[in-house]
Amino acid sequence: MLIIKNLHAEIEGKPILKGINLTVNPGEVHAIMGPNGSGKSSLASVLAGRENYEVTQGEVYFKGANLLDMSPEVRAREGVFLAFQYPIEIPGVSNINFLKTAMAEIRTHRKLPALDAKEFLRLSKEKQKLVEFDAALVNRSLNEGFSGGEKKRNEIFQLAMLEPTLSILDETDSGLDIDALRIVSKGVNKLRSEINAFIIITHYQRLLEYIVPDFVHVLYDGRIVRSGSKELALELEEKGYDWLKDEVREKEAREKVGI
């Protein structure tokens, strides 16, 4: 579904991603972990098409097509969904109207018939229930005055509505208390299927207790320095990232002198 080959990207001339390789297949959940500033959120931004990042090298294919050629909205319509670390507030635009607009755009692109008001409402109710989203928030202005937890839950509600094939959760767990974390995770687990995939970016192992990944990757200094099964997350939790950093430094030193 997603193939990332030797991806390099920079922001304002400063290299951030320095050769990412990653393959994600349908039905898989990949966790991406790593210390602050390692490039986790940048990877999410580059995949979603945020314009202040410049891709300097490498390729990204999504369902066989060149993802990097697509505008952000086309990526979204093709099925890439980014759950934002900091969801944006848009005053005066109701949550439900925004979703209706988004849905219409996406369905047109996917050549699906438009939903009538009744169907849309039914679907919205169904998904609200699925991800335990507060009905009162549906009619409020988009994220305006929402608590941190409500914003994150709104991201998952949108995810449920828009039915993407690849969902990237950018530190969705940050700022969530344990109850909210449980609800968000439950929602995601219900949305997992054979045909969609998730990339879960997180700082902590905690979220992965609820959403069990198939693969765990560690990002450090713009590269994936280690990949493994879910046990890798536990190891990181226990030992921190320092041992990995040391390993990387040692490896680089060896490469430099040619050993």
């Binding site: 098409g49 969801p87 005066g92 988004a102 755009e105 828009l162």
Partner: protein, 481 residues
């Protein structure tokens, strides 16, 4: 995908949709204003002596006044002698039915989407159309007549209801009020007149559509609306003009009179030609609009969506004379390219327990400059008067400007005056967020703008709100690439 510079460029490249010119034979007065032009206009319109004298008084006052200097923009020189003060579609006489109207003119209105022909008027809006200076047709007149409602051109009202016109003309905006109002008093050519009798609730929206067509003409229409005791009326006003390199002056006057328990809702969607992206051409929209709540519990509400004109300069105001009367002002003003808007309202609290509410939303893009200027005046007798003011500014790009000049004068310490102001920018973050949900940048901006202006758009009658929403989107179309 738009960074700020592209946003500005793209806004500048969007062209004006209503810039066509209609080729119709016109009756035009030679340019210039003097006693004989005024007599010419008055004679053309077969006006009574008192009205001619009133015009002449207006002219005298106009000559004595100087252009103001307090506005927050450089006022370009205006040569009042170069303007033609009367232009009317050449025709035999008054139209008795639509069949007699020049087909070219009807085609123009069709292009503008005005429901001029009664058969097509399914929307239930009664329309008076003012083309350049002359009111062309008023639909639904008969139906309104049954209720005793008078809705006709100003000229017709002068002929048929002189007592009402004489009683109220200039009673809210005197002939000497300001230089442009004085000019209007001297040279006004036509406009609309509405009278709602006691206890009548006008069952449909009344609407006037203004269009400036002829080159080098000014449009100086005058609207007078009187809502008698316990009556209600909702009035809509729309405007467009062709694209011209020369600036054209629009100096209208609107007077509203609400008697005891009466309510007047006045909505404007102003889309005069704004000039090109270098700021060449466009309408100078210098309008005096004022209403008076004469009786107790009267209510006047102004709603305006201002997207056009090179310069918009107006302050729809309410004199709250009756006890418990209330005034409202809801405004969205958009400026882009080199457009200027200096607009706001004045609320004069005279009666006890009077209330006013001001919601102003400015949107600036390109090199547009948007100023809110408002006065809330509480008189010594206005016990327990209340005002709430909110002015918000939204900026697109970093070459535009937003300014607020709120003035409060209170002579009564039982009054409550609240003022809130915010300034925000359409952020790339907001646009990207919507992009990431499959919404392109153009639609994203439209969504954000409409959300921002919602409080004001909600005040408009339904069909008009949809129209205004579209207009806002079109106006800012191409705001991101």
């Amino acid at each position: 995908m738009g960074n700020d510079n592209e946003i500005i460029d793209n806004i500048a490249n969007k062209e004006y949709e209503f810039g066509f010119i209609t080729d119709i034979e016109m009756d035009i007065a030679p340019p210039g204003l003097n006693d004989s032009t005024i007599r010419f206009i008055s004679e053309k319109k077969k006006e009574p002596e008192w009205l001619l004298n009133w015009r002449l008084k207006g002219f005298l006052s106009f000559q004595k006044q100087k252009l103001p200097e307090w506005q927050n923009f450089p006022l370009p020189p205006i040569d009042f002698q170069k303007i033609s003060y009367y232009a009317a579609p050449k025709s035999k006489k008054k139209y008795d039915s639509l069949d007699q109207v020049d087909p070219e003119l009807l085609a123009t209105f069709a292009k503008l989407g005005i429901p001029i022909s009664e058969q097509k008027t399914l929307a239930g809006v009664a329309v008076d159309v003012v083309f350049d200076s002359v009111s062309v047709t008023t639909t639904y007149k008969e139906k309104l007549k049954e209720l005793g409602i008078i809705f006709c051109s100003f000229g017709e009202a002068v002929q048929e209801h002189p007592e009402l016109v004489q009683k109220y003309l200039g009673s809210v905006v005197p002939h000497s009020d300001n230089i442009f109002a004085a000019l209007n008093a001297a040279a006004f050519s036509d406009g609309s007149f509405v009278y709602i009798p006691k206890g009548v609730r006008c069952p449909m929206e009344l609407s006037t559509y203004f269009r400036i067509n002829t080159e080098n003409t000014g449009q100086f229409e005058r609207t007078l609306i009187i809502a008698d005791e316990d009556s209600y009326v909702s009035y809509l006003e729309g405007c467009t003009a062709p694209m011209r390199d020369e600036n054209q002056l629009h100096a209208a006057v609107v007077e509203l009179v609400a008697l005891k328990n009466a309510e007047i809702k006045y909505s404007t969607v102003q889309n005069w030609y704004p000039g090109d992206k270098e700021g060449k051409g466009g309408i100078y929209n210098f309008v005096t609009k004022r209403g008076i709540c004469k009786g107790a519990h009267a209510k006047i509400s102004w709603t305006q969506v201002e997207t056009g004109s090179a310069i918009t300069w107006k302050y729809p105001s309410v004199i709250l004379q009756g006890d418990h009367s209330s005034g409202e002002f809801y405004s969205v003003a958009v400026t882009r390219n080199k457009q200027i808007a200096d607009t706001g309202t004045k609320m004069y609290h005279i009666g006890k327990n009077t209330k006013s509410r001001i919601i102003s939303k400015g949107i600036s893009a390109g090199q547009g400059n948007n100023s809110y200027r408002g006065l809330v005046q509480i008189g010594s007798r206005a016990d327990e008067a209340r005002n709430f003011t909110q002015c918000d500014s939204l900026l697109i790009g970093d070459q535009c400007g937003a300014h607020t000049f709120p003035y409060i004068e209170s002579k009564n310490n039982t009054a409550t005056v609240e003022h809130e102001a915010t300034t925000s920018k359409i952020g790339e973050d907001q646009i990207f967020y919507l992009n990431q949900r499959g919404i392109d940048s153009e639609k994203a901006v439209a969504l954000i703008i409409n959300g921002y202006a919602k409080e004001v758009l909600n005040q408009l009658p339904m069909e008009f709100a949809v129209e205004a929403q579209k207009l806002l989107s079109i106006t800012l179309e191409g705001s991101v690439g």
